[in-house]
């Protein structure tokens, strides 16, 4: 390694060159990850809130399972989704293997437990505060869930960001189900893996710096949104 620091110069050089291939890869990364996080929230928020707010048989088992699934190894998820979507698998006729959709599915599977488990914790704590009020006001279960989620909304943004962080940094699952096909399913992390395997360590690291900057940018946007929304709400 000639110079550790020259990598950062290289990263900025790559960004400002606006290389169309790189832009395509960044675009696909964002498309896949944001879509996956969106659908993971769509499932994970209500699921986590339900587990947090209600008691039912198997409740503890479900809560523990959600927590355990946060540690799902991406490669295992990749293999599971591969076996499902493979032509020889049950969902083979959908022809989704080696498409961005397959990558979205894999990242959804990874991120949904994170969103659900963190939401469960938040909602459970809130519910402890409010449950007597809900009971005295005779609030139905659906209203109870939506009001709990609504109350936790700013904290839930951080939950979504945790999911985003996991999805955007993940390579093991998307490289199996996406195949890292140039111009089709090549994203930031699979490009980094490819360049590393070519021995282009500086380029790989520069791409990593760019990925970090993107994550920083997304987080900054969400935090700004959150701050201005909170100001509007409490003004």
């Amino acid at each position: 390694m000639d110079s550790f620091w020259s990598v950062f110069g290289g990263a900025f050089g790559l960004v400002f060159a606006l290389d169309p291939d790189l832009m395509e890869i960044i675009g696909l990364s964002m498309r896949v990850t944001l879509t996956a996080v969106f659908f993971a929230c769509l499932i994970g928020l209500p699921l986590g809130a339900a587990v947090g707010a209600f008691r039912f048989p198997g409740h503890t088992l479900l809560a523990v399972s959600l927590n355990a699934l946060m540690g799902l190894p991406p490669v295992v998820v990749g293999l599971l989704v591969y076996l499902l979507l493979s032509a020889a698998g049950p969902l083979g006729p959908l022809k989704l293997l080696y498409t961005p959709t397959a990558m979205i599915v894999a990242q959804m599977v990874l991120v949904t437990p994170i969103v659900a488990a963190l939401t469960r914790q938040l909602v459970e704590d809130l519910n402890r505060e409010y449950s007597e009020q809900y009971a005295s006001m005779g609030v139905g279960p659906i209203d109870r869930l939506t009001s709990l989620l609504w109350d936790a909304r700013y904290s839930l943004l951080t939950v979504a960001l945790a999911g985003f962080g996991r999805a955007v940094a993940e390579v093991g699952a998307v490289i199996i189900v996406g195949g890292n096909i140039n111009h089709v399913t090549r994203v930031m992390t699979t490009t980094i893996a490819l360049e590393t395997s070519k021995g282009n360590l500086q380029l790989a690291l520069a791409l990593g710096v760019i990925l970090l900057l993107i994550a920083f940018f997304v987080n900054a946007c969400v935090m700004t949104l959150r701050a201005s929304a909170a100001r509007a709400a409490y003004a």
Binding site: S86, A88, Y98, T99, I104, I181, L194, S197, K198, G199
Partner: protein, 278 residues
């Protein structure tokens, strides 16, 4: 306000999903299960645009180890198999997964090692003797250990050398269980000898202080073959498009394209479709 934002977000997500679908709606493409050496060396980046210019067919390459490529193709997750382990390829065809196999090109395997050369094998062209010396010196040797074409070839060399390298696994014989590039990164990091194909080595960017120590042994011949996945086994295989790709690879035009691909002025693959040696 919030509800409207939510609706907008939902709409955006659906647009994303639709965009994903439309990207795959164009059906004039084939999936080729291939090996990392063909991709890492840059050959496909050079070859495939030429093929697309002539035929309009897009080739989507999934580059994994030969073992995994063969398993993926046997599952029907590909139209064409383009790998380098002739015995496994012939088994793939005889098992009914492939239509027929054709030679495309070759290069050779080499052994690279640190310039300090602890086993004193530099300059050798006898792979059997070199491996015996490495085993005797207990010099570190990084193996793919991943059932790839290169790994299978390496195991054949150890067998020819009469050395049970696996018995020393974890000692001087180190199985990385990963791709060629990862194994080269690991091996150069630990000062180990590594068997690799020449194309990957020439195009590799992290050579550290490693150089080629053993080359030129006829045993180290590395043949690449191409196979159309059998539509009798997997009816969705795009036989026509796949066959067009194979025909082009074997044609004079395709063979010339392979021969003309160079890195640093060195030819990486040598076409031999028409040698009639298969």
């Amino acid at each position: 306000m919030i509800r409207r934002t939510f609706l907008a977000l939902t709409g955006a997500a659906i647009c994303f999903a639709v965009a994903c679908q439309s990207a795959i709606a164009d059906d004039k493409f084939i999936i080729v299960q291939s090996t990392t050496s063909t991709q890492n060396s840059g050959l496909f980046d050079d070859l495939l645009p030429k093929f697309k210019d002539r035929t309009g067919i897009e080739v989507r390459v999934v580059a994994v180890g030969t073992g995994q490529a063969i398993r993926n193709a046997a599952n029907g997750d590909g139209d064409v198999l383009f790998v380098h382990s002739k015995p496994s390829e012939e088994k793939f065809v005889s098992d009914g997964f492939g239509v027929s196999r054709a030679d495309v090109m070759y290069n050779d395997f080499i052994i690279v090692g640190p310039t300090s050369d602890p086993a004193r094998v530099a300059g050798s062209s006898d792979v059997v003797e070199a491996l015996q010396k490495i085993a005797e010196a207990k010099a570190p040797f990084a193996s793919r250990g991943d059932d790839s074409g290169t790994h299978k070839a390496e195991l054949r060399m150890w067998k020819a050398a009469g050395v049970d390298a696996a018995a020393s696994s974890g000692d001087w014989y180190r199985e990385t269980g990963s791709g060629m590039g990862a194994t080269l990164n690991t091996g150069t990091g630990m000062g180990a000898y590594i068997m690799t194909d020449r194309a990957t080595w020439i195009a590799f960017g992290n050579k550290a202080d490693h150089t080629i120590v053993v080359e030129g042994d006829p045993k180290m011949f590395n043949q690449y073959g191409v196979i159309l996945v059998n539509s009798k086994e997997h009816p969705h295989v795009k036989s026509d498009l796949g066959q067009t790709f194979i025909d082009w690879l074997l044609s004079k035009d395709g063979q010339d394209a392979i021969a003309s691909y160079k890195v640093d002025g060195q030819q990486l693959f040598f076409p031999n479709a028409n040698d009639g040696s298969s």
